[in-house]
Amino acid sequence: MSTFDLAEAVLLGILIVTAVAITRARSLFVAAMLGGLFSLVTASLFVLLDAVDVALTEAAVGAGISTVLFITALALTNSREATTPRRRVIPAGLVAVLATAGLVYASFDLPGVGDPDSPVQTHPITDTYLRESQEDLHVPNTVTGVLASYRGYDTLGEVVVIFTAGIGVLLLMLGPRRPADEVKDRAYLQTEYRVLRVVSKTLMPFILLFALYVLLHGEYSPGGGFQAGVIFGAGFILYTLMFGLAAVQRVLPMRTLVVLVAVGVLIYAGVGVATMALGGGFLDYNEFNPGNPSGGQVAGILLIEVGVGVTVAAVMVAMFYSLVRRGVRR
């Protein structure tokens, strides 16, 4: 048993313990925090399972953004949960146990984890993505290559889903804002947590710079538009938490964000239209540089990654803003 196998087993055990603790926690605040821990562990597992890009995303999304979302929601609703009545526990438990048994039985037909002869590994597409992509695209990070070029249509669809979800949250949270007198004055903010504020302020440029690096270097190392957008969003969430909504809105007002949400999708779709105008198919980046198709590919991938990054970052920050400024109508 190698160290990696041991690590995998320990992490999976930690996951089970955490998941059970989450379901048992009566305080939703605790459940949300343990949820953050849960996704830190899954992200480590993703690294062990060779999925570094996924780990990057999961860390920023799971441990950062969704924890913040849940906790903000709890501030607007109720943070304690009623006890679960027995009439619900027994049937739900029964369904869960039976379904687990069924799935485990079905898993006997699955190839083992890491089996080199499994259908996933022997399918011809594997060779396309891993070998031919190097001649077609010259993008060493095959995840970015597949995401942005081979499966460009699919990714456009995903970005539109994120766009729609962002607009949905903005519409749902259109109602009353928190009155200004509820927000404590700046003097209070200045005195409390002084160390935290200075450190956050110092870290802010590093976070944004790193997001840019992840965005622009995504073709050569783990990274890309989705990851960069989320890291960028986390940076602005940190700033909002430490300096208040009014301060951050001076840099990035809600109105700009709403525009940016759409601009990202438009950049992506616009690249597709541009390639059509140049005589190729939709999202056929070769047209950007007919003499040197892989150069065109690199340019196209970078452009749409920028589009993805803009939309994701804008949606994340806009959702957080709209939850924070929500007033409670009682």
């Binding site: 089970i16 399972l49 996924v54 953004i65 799935l103 984890v113």
Partner: protein
């Protein structure tokens, strides 16, 4: 069998713990947290399918021959971000329900609906 398949089994158990939380708990926010657990377990299942023994992350480097399959990574990468966007729609709906009913407990909200129907 156990050595090669236990990862799947734990992942299935996690899925079902998430499903259990969704089914048994009446609190809408708790249901969303349970749904998140379920979702992450599905992600792990996909990623474990793309794994290959002795493989490396699919970033092509000289001197490395065996790579894990990039396709599950691509699918899950986007699914994670889409997942958080849809979760936040769920959170927003839960907040609206709280504002309308004064509770995020399913049973209380349904009971209030039933009472209102009775008075009309």
């Amino acid at each position: 069998m156990i050595a090669t398949h236990y990862t799947y089994w734990i992942i299935f158990a996690l899925m079902m713990i998430g499903l259990y939380a969704v089914m048994s708990h009446g609190n809408l926010v708790k249901k969303l947290i349970g749904l998140n657990i379920f979702q992450v377990a599905v992600f792990m299942f996909f990623i474990s399918l793309g794994r290959v023994d002795g493989g490396s992350p699919p970033i092509i480097t000289e001197g490395i021959e065996v790579y894990s399959h990039p396709l599950p990574h691509v699918l899950i990468l986007t699914a994670i971000v889409v997942g958080v966007a849809t979760t936040s729609v769920g959170v927003a709906i839960a907040i609206r329900i709280y504002e309308a009913y004064g509770t995020v407990e399913e049973d209380n909200a349904l009971a209030r609906d039933a009472a209102e129907e009775g008075t009309q």
